[in-house]
Amino acid sequence: MLQVEGLDVQIRSERGTAQILQDVSFAIPRGGTMGIVGESGCGKSTLLRSILGIMPKGAETPRGAILFDGQDILTDRAASARGRIGFVPQDPYLSLNPVFRAGDQILEIMRRHAPGSRADHKRKIVELFRAVQLPDPEGALRKYPHQFSGGQRQRLLIAAALACDPALVVADEPTTALDVTTQREILALLRRLVAERGLSLLFVTHDFGVLASVCESVTVLYAGRVAETGPTRQVLDDPRHPYTRMLLACHPDRSADLSGIPGTVPAATAQPPGCRFHPRCPIARPDCATAPPPLVALPGGRAVACPHFETPLPENALA
């Protein structure tokens, strides 16, 4: 359904050229759910914007390809992607216009991208409101954003993302602004809609727990490169890349003490040569600093960008 191949994105600013994404590749099959995880600055948002076709200011022409349904949407936006990629934003409080009615905001999207009359569109929206379990679906059309709670607004935005019958839904941390109890309901809703409608889902998150509950497979990004990719269960239970291993080891579910990965994520304008994780890696060898390690396929649909993935980590790896 979606195939990202060797995507490179650079952004030029007065502080220099920043390599935001380098050689990023992954694929989501039809009906598949893929999670993108990584810490701030790893390129999650830029990847998402590249797929949505809204490149940040100062971005140079990206290299590589993003194939959607077989057509490259990176170079030719007008292709098949219009209205067929739905987007669920991060913050339901900032993503709706406070002075327009909920129904009108979705009608505006449909007028541009969906065939049919206004009455058809309205019927469709009510049906979607029912599907996302908004109370009083007909009445909700005429309500303003402030009349909904945070969880209801996120339901509204999910309905908006589905309005033009997308084949792929891209969600950018859709539950970080919500309470855990609401988060659980929204995640359950997303899981159900994806299964019922046969959608493909690209889900950006930094929370491994959320990832485990929604995504079949996962791609771990570090400093703009793919560290590791594979089926979620396998990656979480048996991580291979030293970064993934260390990150999961400091997850509160797995670590009793307060340890973290030493050092910080490098600035995008000052990426280290070779493997970008090597300055923080406890098992780095001299060759790690010379050439970026390629993503090597492993059995079971997994791949890892570290030649030393079988080396055990020392006891004191976390500090």
């Binding site: 930094h206 509950s213 009793a256």
Partner: protein, 317 residues
């Protein structure tokens, strides 16, 4: 350990307006809350947004006037006094970037608090700033930088240094790890723990991240719609939660193994303008009986230092 700060039957009304012809009633954001925080401990307050945890913190701090009840600090009654007499209680802002003036060098921001607190000698201010920056693990030369030149982790350390310079006894931490990455979060929590030991601090730790609360807090109070519904040691509360709301809250946190424990909690908390009768949680509670809708539960002892306000906690286990 003696109590350092406490509240007794504390109520806070927000948003009341006195008009010319009619008075508009406010909402009771904190309704009869009693807590007692011991010296040297980390006391966690958890709950969904709108449960009153931030209002409770602001009231203990003296930024918000209580409408009823009593606040004691180090044995003295400080109710209705505002910030006067509460210099020993300080607050670390949730967003450290927003709490620093972008036009001021870090050193100037740090010195301002000292000036207000009566440290008149410039040389002494500079010496104390240098020492404190080193204590929170920063290069003292950072005092010459502007906030935008610092990373998120560094800004958080500066935010903490700014408060610790004032030599508080009680520090209120509002969501101290919100928005931090997993690998950085541990470093911030470790710093907080080290500072608590070094300066003999007591923390009031407000958070909705239960996994963090579990790791750093000694005791925890769970709030729902302005009330404390359960309170106990972190170890006991997480191992054997008694209140149905606490159980639902714990079950809702996503887990690494992808397992879902217990039923979901449907719907949103009701508005403070329409607080349900009886037990405030009964419309969302799976164990509610007709009694729950009529009679307000009082806290009962469920174990040593463990109290729960629920008619049916014995059936919940």
């Amino acid at each position: 350990m003696p109590e350092i700060i406490g509240a007794e039957a504390l109520s806070v009304e927000l948003g009341a307006k006195r008009g010319l012809l009619k008075n508009r009633p406010g909402v009771t954001a904190v309704d009869g809350v009693s807590i007692s925080v011991n010296e040297g401990e980390t006391f966690g307050i958890v709950g969904e947004s709108g449960c009153g945890k931030t209002t409770l913190a602001r009231t203990l701090l003296g930024l918000q006037r209580e409408s009823a009840g009593r606040i004691t600090l180090q044995g003295a009654d400080v109710s209705r006094s505002g910030r006067v007499g509460r210099e020993a209680v300080q607050y670390v802002h949730q967003d450290p970037g927003a709490a620093l003036d972008p036009w001021w060098r870090v050193g100037a921001t740090l010195a301002e608090g000292l000036k207000i607190h009566g440290v008149a000698d410039s040389a002494e201010r500079q010496a104390r700033i240098r020492d404190m920056l080193a204590a929170v693990g920063l290069d003292p030369a950072l005092a010459e930088r502007y906030p935008h030149e610092l990373s998120g982790g560094q800004q958080r350390r500066v935010g903490l240094a700014r408060i610790l310079l004032l030599r508080p006894r009680v520090v209120i931490l509002d969501e101290p790890t919100a928005g931090l990455d997993l690998s950085v979060q541990a470093a911030v929590l470790r710093l907080l723990r080290d500072m608590r030991e070094k300066f003999g601090l007591t923390y009031l730790f407000i958070s909705h991240d239960l996994s963090v609360v579990r790791r750093v807090c000694d005791r925890v109070a769970v709030m729902y719609l302005g009330r404390v519904v359960e309170e106990g040691s972190a170890a006991e509360l997480f191992a054997a939660p008694r209140h149905p709301y606490t159980r639902a809250l714990l079950a809702a946190a996503p887990r690494l193994d992808g397992a879902e424990t217990g039923p979901a909690l449907p719907g949103d908390p009701p508005s403070l303008r329409a607080v349900p009768s009886g037990c405030r949680f009964h419309p969302r509670c799976g164990l509610a009986t007709p009694e729950c809708a009529t009679r307000d539960p009082v806290p009962e002892t469920a174990g040593p230092g463990h109290s729960v306000a629920c008619h049916r906690w014995r059936d919940a286990a």
